[in-house]
């Protein structure tokens, strides 16, 4: 356990190194957020919807703030698979899956928190109807933080499944891109899931991708009342177990027939 903890810490330190790059990323993300909010505002003036505009703008800002949680992968691992130095990792007295799971978790968690804090502060300061609203209730906020953590576990498990494909095919740029795009759409990054047709939402919100950010954001804005929060967290928990289980089995199967590149 201590070994995993120190792997986590090392990775976290590394992620904290590139603070200059973070600033550029934050400004970019803020700019995109403003554009999206402007579009939804213009749409709302034409035909207001049942769901309040402030919920939509908050959804946009929270999605933009935690963008890094969705799209961050371990470039070292991809390199290791391609060059064959993954062989060294196989010699470690650690479980390969667990080792890379904590690494990606440190990366996603540190990276997204580092960006989310300044962005959310900025979004709070925006005028009414543009920015981030306060959480609907204290209970809702507490549930959404718990939901966000489960979402993080979920996205790390998904990332490792994607990496499993890389191990199999060595160059998985295609597969990786495909799965990442699917994630961007179904996690609500391109269009808030709350604006999808209501009949679609019933299915989409059950899929694993909706557990990453959509579920916690709805708890935050109060689209999901705190009373139904335990049910939401249960769905998230089930997906975490399922995806981690599938990932572990996938990696085991890969390890048995792993081809080591290089020479």
């Amino acid at each position: 356990m201590r070994a995993y903890l120190s792997a986590f810490r090392m990775r976290r330190k590394m992620e904290l190194q590139y603070r200059g790059a973070v600033l550029g990323g934050v400004i970019c993300q803020v700019f995109f957020g403003l554009i999206l909010v402007a579009i939804y505002r213009a749409m709302y003036t034409g035909k207001p919807q049942e769901i309040p505009l402030s919920h939509i703008t908050s959804y946009v800002w929270l999605q933009q703030a935690f963008f890094r949680m969705l799209l961050a992968s371990d470039p070292e691992l991809t390199d290791k698979i391609r060059t064959g130095s993954i062989a060294y990792d196989l010699c470690r007295p650690l479980d390969l899956y667990g080792f890379y799971y904590v690494r990606i978790m440190a990366q996603k968690m540190t990276g997204s928190l580092l960006r989310a804090v300044p962005m959310l502060v900025f979004a709070f300061l925006l005028p009414e109807g543009w920015g981030l609203m306060l959480p609907a209730s204290a209970a809702g906020f507490a549930w959404s933080v718990a939901g966000l953590f489960l979402g993080l576990l979920c996205v790390c498990a998904l990332e490792n499944i994607t990496m499993g494909f890389t191990m199999r095919t060595l160059d998985a740029r295609g597969m990786q891109a495909l799965l990442n795009l699917l994630m961007m759409i179904l996690a609500g990054n391109i269009l808030p899931l709350t604006l999808f047709p209501d009949s679609w939402q019933r299915v989409i919100t059950l899929l694993p991708y909706a557990q990453l950010l959509d579920a916690p954001i709805r708890l935050y804005t109060g689209d999901t009342p705190p009373s139904s929060a335990p049910g939401i967290l249960l769905i998230q928990g089930i997906w975490v177990l399922l995806l981690t289980g599938v990932g572990i089995l996938f990696w085991r199967a890969n390890q048995k027939r792993l081809e080591i590149q290089g020479g």
């Binding site: 550029g24 995109f32 213009a42 034409g46 919807q49």
Partner: protein, 266 residues
């Protein structure tokens, strides 16, 4: 003529080399389809929910979306040299080899890459244009076709100019400044919707500084029969030229910056 022949020859070679990994190529092309399909889906779902955006109906919005994505991805496909690894060439010092060859730097950069995977994005954009023009009941005339061709061409040149900004910054700072991408990719995302969607600061940004509105939206709106800004017809033909002017200014800056170029290579 010789330059064009050289460009076409490079394109042929590059495409052949990319097809050496057919499965990866196929999957990446498919990924592009999912990406642009996802963007299109977002517009469809928004239109389904909100029905219209200011004076623009569903067909108009599809048309604007298609115009932007055809323009942007044609540029990314054939101008990949500039939109892709131009900053990288500067950063790694690979630009040195370009300077000793008896051809212009820009020609060589243009010849250095092509991205045929974008074909699916262009197809999605084309489909959006066709669907949009059908739904908005556009009566096509020779003048409208010509104007659309002008808009796409000038828009492409504008986008090439925007991507060159990053390369110019790279010459001075060596480090790639991804912030500039806010203007290119941000401009693409923003200007998929007509310019009057936005509040004044964004409108000024995308009309004056990165004139997407002048190159794409003004002609697009005229084709749809709902002229923007109440401008007369001749202005519609002139306004896309702003894309060429923009590129020309950036090109001048690039020439200036090249005098400061110091190789980073070993």
């Amino acid at each position: 003529m010789d330059t064009i022949r050289l460009y076409l020859h490079s394109m042929r070679m590059l495409i052949r080399s990319q097809l050496q990994y057919p499965i990866s190529f196929f999957l990446q092309t498919l990924a592009q389809l999912v990406m642009e399909g996802g963007e299109m889906l977002a517009v469809i779902l928004l239109v389904d929910r909100f029905e219209h955006l200011n004076q623009w109906g569903a067909g108009d919005l599809y048309f604007f979306f298609g115009l932007m994505s055809v323009t942007f991805y044609l540029t990314e496909c054939f101008g990949r040299g500039i939109t892709g690894n131009f900053p990288y060439l500067v950063r790694t010092g690979q630009l040195d080899t370009f300077l000793v060859r008896p051809r212009g730097v820009l020609t060589q950069v243009m010849c250095s890459a092509v991205d045929p995977r974008r074909i699916t994005c262009i197809a999605v954009g084309g489909a959006a244009l066709i669907i949009g023009s059908g739904m908005a009941a556009i009566e096509w005339t020779a003048a409208k076709v010509l104007l659309m061709a002008e808009a796409i061409l000038c828009g492409s040149i504008l986008i090439l100019g925007l991507f060159m900004i990053e390369a110019i910054f790279c010459i001075y700072s060596v480090k790639s400044i991804e912030l500039v991408n806010a203007l290119t990719y941000g401009g693409r995302s923003a200007c998929e919707y007509p310019i009057d969607t936005y509040p004044r600061p964004l409108r000024v940004l995308f009309t004056v500084f990165a004139p997407f509105a002048l190159t794409l939206h003004v002609p697009g709106a005229w084709i749809l029969g709902k002229p923007l800004f109440g401008w007369p017809e001749w202005a519609v033909w002139v306004s896309p030229v702003s894309g060429i002017v923009f590129f020309w200014v950036i090109w001048g800056c690039f020439q200036k910056a090249m005098r400061h170029y110091r190789s980073t290579g070993s």
